[in-house]
């Protein structure tokens, strides 16, 4: 379990990093927290010829709020998300979900940008970006562009990022009024990749009817999956247990495509999706109603 030979660069500015990336293109991989890349290299599943370590590039780790938008630097460690008061107030869904990511030691090194670019369908952060309407700022050595989360995640371990681009920032709207949130997952052991996970957001109108709902699943297909039809079942309705049950059934039966793995069959994953949809929606609705008062 030793990596294949590779060339290592450790630039100290983003421009140097982008130049190196432009020079080496497909041959190169960016090293952020290294919590997925380095094990994959040791297994020789990944054999990049060039490693560009951006840990010394300044000003890539921050969590700020500007005009109702949260801006998070791509090199922000998961542990920083976990301990951010700002996130706990303005993006409680994200804040509450971070402890489900692996173990503290991994969160100390692992970065939000690294996880998003890795695009593991079983990872929490890609699903949360979808749930939170995130926009992602990427740059190559000549230009910068923004990508909406649904367009960013293309498939399993695949994103819209070009070979010469680096993810720099994630922008999230702060959570809307009268909105409740919930994130739950079932993992074999604490810290494992989840067998199934669900993020739910529900906005309740003054009239007690549902004004907005969002359901996103992880490890339910080849990327984070949004269940729009299931969410639509709730829209404009007073929420009841029966309604939640039908949303849970619809989402888990028709809108996800879990593959199964050595720990769970696709059938069990669907069963868990249904259970978790029910639980998360119930919690999100309750919280939305609490926040209304």
């Amino acid at each position: 379990m030793k990596p294949a030979p590779f060339e290592y660069f450790c630039p100290d500015s983003i421009d140097q990093a982008l130049d190196l990336l432009s020079e080496h293109g497909d041959e190169a991989r960016i090293l952020a927290g290294g919590q997925s890349l380095v094990p994959a290299m040791n297994f020789r599943i990944q054999q990049p010829a060039v490693l560009i370590d951006i840990n010394r590039v300044p000003d890539l780790d921050y969590i700020l709020e500007e005009e109702n938008v949260l801006r998070i630097g791509a090199m922000t460690r998961e542990r920083q998300l976990e301990f951010s008061d700002l996130l706990s107030q303005q993006a409680p869904l994200l804040h509450e979900s971070v402890p489900f990511i692996a173990h503290p030691q991994i969160r100390n090194r692992g970065t939000i940008g690294g996880s998003l670019v890795n695009a593991d369908p079983a990872a929490e952060l890609p699903a949360l970006m979808l749930a939170l309407n995130a926009r992602l700022k990427v740059r190559n050595n000549s230009q910068e562009r923004w990508i909406e989360a649904p367009e960013f995640f293309i498939g399993m371990f695949t994103t819209a990022l070009e070979a010469d681009e680096i993810l720099l920032e994630i922008a999230l709207p702060v959570m809307a009024e009268r909105t409740g949130w919930s994130f739950m997952e079932v993992a074999p052991r604490s810290g494992d990749y989840a067998l199934m996970g669900v993020a739910a957001l529900v906005t309740m109108g003054e009239d007690g009817k549902c004004e907005g709902a969002k359901l996103v699943y992880l490890n339910a297909g080849d990327g984070p999956l949004e269940a729009k039809e299931a969410a639509n079942i709730l829209l404009g309705e007073k929420i009841s247990d029966d309604l939640i049950q039908s949303a849970a059934e619809h989402g888990s039966e028709h809108e996800i495509t879990p593959f199964g793995n050595v720990h769970a069959s696709p059938e069990f994953q669907r069963h868990l999706a249904q259970v978790l949809t029910k639980k998360t929606l119930t919690q999100a609705v309750r919280r939305a109603e609490e926040r209304k008062q």
């Binding site: 030793k2 294949a4 030979p5 297994f43 079932v186 494992d192 769970a264 069990f268 069963h271 868990l272």
Partner: protein, 782 residues
């Protein structure tokens, strides 16, 4: 004697060194000019090797040598059979031991084919990608039952069968009592065990000194003396030319016993060939496929009961997966066969097993060594009978316990040590009573559980029993010596893998010599320090090596008294050993340190008298006529989420009897570690093979060991039934924690999920599997 050391909860002597990184492990051995090895391993479970091209690898800078089977010449031969078949009439045993490098055919995925030796491990691994092996893949033999079908592919063609062994053992006459039975329970049970997943993988470093003609091998083995003898034989050297050192080893659990693994025999040979030190350290990916597993059995078992739940007899026919080779003989299935009898007075027993070759990693003992499988069968049969007869599950066990006045109790079958399985001593009811009280069994089922159920909670209780055969022969030895500093040296031939030998062995000597435990230096696992021995396995270290140390320390004590008696001109019975001194009782000025006395016993002038020996030193041996049998009860309260099938263990209790306890702290540690592995076996760990014989979850990401968050606090309590088979009265405890956890989970989960008519007949479980079993039960009910 005023200070007692034996039986005390003393902190471990070795821990400061281990915790501050000052202990030697095999990977710490770093020698000038040392080369590093890596192996091409078969990606196929079953294939013909058509061609191997190593030419590109040899051209890579830094590669020193590349070996395939044909390069080994006469050194290429199947490894030794480590345990011969048992002396049981009509036993069939087909011996097939592993070869150093696969030739012609590969028989399991992970089998080594090519050995690369290079200036660094990085280069050696790079060179693996330069080697091209052409294979003709065959269908893999994965399923034990299919392996026995007429048209199954054969793993060892010359045998004409995939049967590795067949053994029948009988006690009484099961068929004759069957008509008298009020109830017969018959089920199929399947039990899979996993891999040991020791914290440290295997490793070997070998250094050949051509000037002295001596070979030194650092090896992660549990049995350095056996490896020394075997390597000397294989290499054509005398035993005195070979030194095997088993330094600190990060866990053994069985797979490191004395396997003569392919790498273990190749590295020393290559070091001699190249006249340079060679190191190989197994990585975790290799460990999952190349280090032995334990894996599974399928039992078709039935038990006959009278109307009161007394067992009239048990009939069990089972298949045992032995993997691609069977170098460790039949230890695992023999243990299973014996453990079906448990701690119960079973007068009629028919047991037969067939060991089956499969295209999978070799199976050898792993902590429990087949005991789990047997315990699962009998404990489940008792639970099923209790339910049928409406007898409390603890009561049915109580009714069947061997009564205390029936010891020694002869089970009339042959055990893994090849002598009849006779339990030396035991008293089971007090253990059960203690467990019932400590887990508050009756209160829980009568009051607490109904309340929890009314609240919609699914909380169940489990309580199971087991015996553990421990401390088998042949023998161990020890040398105890008072050094001139006054410190005491204790040397024994067994290896150590973290059990606390440096403390428990010291306590045994301390008790005899009146020397504080921290002034006793224990040496294990170095064949130059102690020549004789067998090794650390089968929960035998404390019993066999411990008693050898006891005997040797007693001899030294006698010698001390004799020398001091002459020195003080006082009778021996007026002398006392205390705090590293020997003194004449009640005469404070007549006192001498043991170090000073040792110097006097080794004079530089004058003569050591005829018939006496210099120094305060003795060597002695201990060989038990048979094993000592420990016993115990595990109890657990577990909560299950009925929707996600996730579990939470609320309480875990072990009441255990291993005779006299040397160090309760170390014993607790043994139990805790065993329970953790048992929990892993019951609910987390599972080796998943596909139909092609590929292990699908050979990483710690997918092979789930229970973590600190999954293992609850474990409460322990002890009974003490002294073993009459050794002077200290001790029994082994190494495997006790791990053995009965499977049936405990099964029983407690059935109890927790009381609203489903569940029968859990298999281990391991996990949330997914439990969900399937519940669905099957619900569908059957419809």
């Amino acid at each position: 004697m005023t200070t007692r050391y034996f039986g005390k909860r003393i902190k471990r002597n070795e821990d400061p060194r281990l915790l501050t990184g000052r202990s030697l492990f095999v990977d710490d051995v770093d020698l000038p000019g040392m080369l590093h090895a890596a192996f091409v391993r078969s990606p196929y479970a079953h294939a013909r090797i058509i061609n191997i091209d190593v030419s590109q690898a040899l051209k890579r800078e830094g590669v020193v040598a590349v070996y395939i089977a044909d390069d080994l010449g006469d050194y290429w031969k199947p490894g030794p059979l480590l345990v011969s078949p048992p002396p049981i009439a009509d036993t069939v045993f087909n011996e097939k031991t592993q070869v150093p490098l696969a030739k012609d055919k590969v028989k399991f995925s992970g089998e080594p084919i090519v050995m690369v030796v290079a200036e660094s491990r990085y280069i050696a691994e790079d060179a693996l990608a330069d080697i091209y092996v052409d294979y003709e893949p065959f269908s893999a033999v994965v399923d034990m039952e299919k392996a026995l079908e007429e048209d199954s592919p054969l793993i060892h063609e010359d045998l004409g069968t995939n049967i590795a062994a067949r053994v029948v053992q009988k006690k009484g006459d099961y068929e004759s009592i069957k008509p008298d039975a009020a109830l017969i329970i018959k089920r199929r049970f399947s039990y899979e065990h996993g891999c040991a997943a020791a914290m440290e993988n295997r490793g070997v470093v070998a250094e050949w000194d051509r000037r002295s003609g001596r070979l030194t091998v650092w090896d992660t083995t549990q049995a350095p003396v056996v490896i020394r003898n075997g390597l000397a034989d294989l290499l054509g050297l005398s035993e005195r030319q070979v030194r095997v050192i088993a330094p600190f080893i990060g866990g053994g659990f069985g797979p490191k016993i004395m396997m003569f693994y392919q790498e273990e025999v190749l590295v020393p040979w290559v070091a001699i060939q190249l006249d340079r030190p060679v190191k190989w350290i197994e990585d975790r990916a290799e460990n999952f496929v190349a280090t032995t597993h334990e894996r599974g059995q399928i039992h078709d078992a039935e038990a006959a009961f009278d109307k009161d739940g007394r067992i009239l007899g048990v009939h069990d026919v089972f298949l045992h997966d032995t993997g691609a080779y069977d170098p460790y003989g039949l230890t695992v299935p023999l243990n299973s066969q014996a453990n079906v009898l448990g701690l119960y007075d079973i007068k009629n027993y028919h047991s037969e097993f067939t060991a089956v070759f499969t295209n999978k990693t070799i199976v050898t003992p792993y902590r429990g060594a087949g005991r789990q499988h047997g315990v699962f069968v009998i404990e489940r049969l008792l639970d099923l009978a209790a339910k049928e007869l409406k007898i409390d599950r603890t009561e049915i066990r109580r009714r069947n316990f061997i009564p205390p006045d029936k010891f020694p109790y002869n089970n009339e079958i042959i055990y893994q040590d090849f002598v009849p399985l006779i339990y030396d001593s035991g008293n089971y009811e007090p253990l059960l009573d203690d467990a019932l009280e400590k887990i508050d069994y009756h209160h829980f089922i009568k009051e607490i559980q109904p309340k929890l159920r009314a609240e919609g909670k699914h909380v169940g209780i489990g309580i199971v029993a087991y015996v553990e055969g421990t401390g088998i022969g042949p023998y161990e030895g020890a040398k105890v010596q008072v050094m001139s500093s006054g410190r005491v040296s204790v040397v024994t031939g067994v290896g150590t893998q973290g059990q606390g030998h440096f403390t428990s062995f010291a306590q045994i000597a301390a008790e005899q010599l009146g020397v504080p435990v921290d002034k006793i230096d224990v040496v294990t696992g170095d064949t130059d320090q102690f020549y004789w021995g067998a090794g650390t396995f089968a929960s035998r270290g404390a019993v066999v090596a411990g008693n050898a140390i006891y005997e040797a320390a007693r001899d030294v004590r006698k010698k001390i008294l004799q020398v001091a008696s002459e020195h003080f001109n006082a009778p021996e019975d007026e002398l006392e050993l205390f705090d590293g001194q020997i003194r004449v009782a009640d005469v404070p000025r007549m006192s001498i340190s043991l170090g000073e006395l040792a110097k006097k016993a080794n004079p530089t002038r004058g003569a050591v008298k005829p018939g006496t020996q210099p120094g305060l030193e003795a060597t002695n041996y201990f060989g038990p006529e048979r094993g000592a049998t420990s016993s115990g009860i595990h109890a657990m309260i577990i909560e299950v989420d009925p929707e996600t099938l996730q579990i939470h263990i609320q309480k875990y209790l072990v009441v255990h009897d291993c005779g006299k306890v040397i160090n309760p702290l170390i014993l607790d540690g043994q139990i805790h570690g065993g329970v953790a592995q048992g929990i892993g076996n019951a609910f987390y760990e599972r080796l998943v093979y596909d139909d092609d014989g590929q292990l699908l979850n050979g990483t710690f990401m997918d092979y789930h060991l229970p973590s600190a968050l999954d293992v609850p606090r474990i409460e322990t309590a002890h009974g003490e039934t002294v073993s009459p088979l050794n002077a200290m009265g001790v029994k082994g405890a190494g495997e006790a924690g791990a053995i009965p956890v499977g049936p405990l989970f099964a029983q407690a989960l059935e109890d927790a999920l009381h609203n489903v008519d569940l029968e859990i007949l298999e281990i391991p479980l996990n949330s997914n599997r439990l969900w399937e079993i519940i669905n099957d039960a619900n569908n059957k009910g419809k």
